[in-house]
Amino acid sequence: MTQNMLEVRNLVKRYNGFTAVDDLSFEVYEGEIFGLLGPNGAGKTTTIRTVMDIFKPDAGAVQVLGQPPGVAKGRIGYLPEERGLYRDIKVLDVLVYLAELKGTPRPVARQRALAWLDRLDLADWANRKVRDLSRGMQQKLQFVAGLVHDPELLILDEPFQGLDPVNVELLKGLIRELQAQGKTVVLSAHQMNLVEALCDRIMLIHRGRAVLYGPLDEIKRRYAPNAVRLRTSAAIQGLPGVARTEQRDGVFTLTLEGTTPQAVLRTLVERDILVEAFEVATAPLEEIFIAVVKEASDA
């Protein structure tokens, strides 16, 4: 049975008359990677902070792991958008302290921290001060700080921001691995390619409201531009139902009107046109994102 790890119902949060989150509802299922998208200032971080019990909602209800926010703090891992670590303290001590604050017993915390440091090639730095680490190492240490207490639900606010490409790959791998271990991950991000690569379901927030919510593949299908892409060296004029043809690097993008991709393929076969590749076009998430936000802004 799928349990809701996170349930947000009609959440409203205002600051000084400005409504940052406006009647937002969503849920996150166990074991999925859930993406929270939106332009800057859309209300992502406010939503996350409310879930983390850092802010109190003005209206609405939040249930985290079946309980009100703040009750299950020890079972949640959090990587905030604004990041930092104690700079004058030893790497291992920082990890052990943060895990202890989550309620992990000291010896267990120590053991896990050492295992993580070893895993991320930071074992030699365990007894050095955080300030001695390079930026890339501090980024790795920062993820570990959110994981070392072995949480069931991970909430990552803009986790890829400011990361070098090596660490982006590392974190992607780590998130997939955590999902494979049965953990649930909520991440907010701007980088659409990363969201596309990782998320099972997404919600797009704009001006504090959800403008798009559901499984990623379904959304992509819904926003498919009714076009096909094909690679061929033959001439393909005069196909019925093709409104527009664009060619770029030997790939044709055919915008369809009053027909289906299946019908186009049938016509191509019937005409015995040699097709090297054929696919139903989907819009990149980025385009959907821009289109939806634009539409919502105009509305």
Binding site: N16, R49, M52, D53, I54, F55, K56, G70, K73, G74, I76, Y78, P80, E82, R83, G84, L85, Y86, R87, D88, I89, Y97, L98, E100, L101, K102, G103, A145, G146
Partner: protein, 411 residues
Amino acid sequence: MHKVWTIARHEYLVNVRRTGFIVMTAMVPLLGALGLVVASFFGGQASAFFERQFAPEPKQIGVVDHLGAFTPILPTHQDRYHLFADEEAGRAALKADEITTLLVIPQDYVESGQVMVISKGGGFSEAVRVDSASMRAFFVNHLVRDEVGPTLRQRLADPIEPVLVSLEGEGKPGGGPLNVALNFMVPYFLGLLLVMSILVSSGYLLRGVAEEKTSRIIEIVLSSVTAWELLAGKVLGLGVLGLTQVVVWLVSALGLSGGAASLLGVAVPLLAHSQVFFLGLVYYLLGFLVYAVLMGAAGSLGTTMQESQQLAGIFSMAAAIPLMISGFVVSNPNVLLLRVLSWFPLTAPTMMLLRLPMAKVPTVDIVGSIAVLALSIPAVLWAGAKVFRTGLLMYGKRPALAQVVQALREA
């Protein structure tokens, strides 16, 4: 509660290793040890040493006697006082450093009392020397040399030997002005040290909070514990840190005085004022609580360390007012202004720590100030934790007063 403990331990361990803390803590025992060395260097009796410091005496003194009452100089004074035939000869000896001071006693001395005091440096210190007990004895002995017996002569030179008895019944022979001074000064300095310790350890709290805020780690911490737990843990950890400092000071003072240092008279006044000592501890704890919470809130409000420190400066100022007027406290411990300051929560702890050793403080002031503090601490804690939570999460801008007020209302 477990988390409060974890935070307290973390804060304690991090701060106990700070260089500033170690220097400050080691300073008192080191100064004490230094005092011991100095005292033993000056030969056994430290009290004699101090007396010499406060009332230094000239080594060799020349006398030009136009009156005739000082010729010849009595045998008991001959080792230090030397007659010169005229002022010229005396000045020459002064120039040659054979004497340090030249007294020219005019013919009309008995009527006018005027004595010309000539010295190389001159000035204030010379006037003090001339007024010293031995100089007084020199004049009295010669003026009445044949008229009265030696005992009365001595009494005339030093008519009052005070034995202080106070109405509280603690009166015991003080054993001279030095002991009286020590009886006052040692508890007074203890009060000063406690005040310093409060300011230093609450200063660490300010620094720690501002550091956590500027380094952005605060959000991770707040996702694990409540603002209340964080503040309580910090106050507890740093409070124990401050107590560690005080205990090190006391133990070192007692340790030093257990040995040869008892001649410094450090331990005696402390042990004699056990009630002051106990109340001092109470005010120390209450004072620390008030200041620690205020500093924590101030630390959370600033966007940078400097800004936080400026905000906290307002509170440090209040704590320092009693210190600034401490000279006044020594002379008039129960004057109205000081009593008013004892009833105001921001100044009460430091004011009372300074007043307690000075005199019998009215019981109503003790009870009143403790009650005021005990009542204001929960209020300060409650408001502090609210402001703390709001301030901590605002980066880049300081919350306006209105937002602070709103945070308080949104309890």
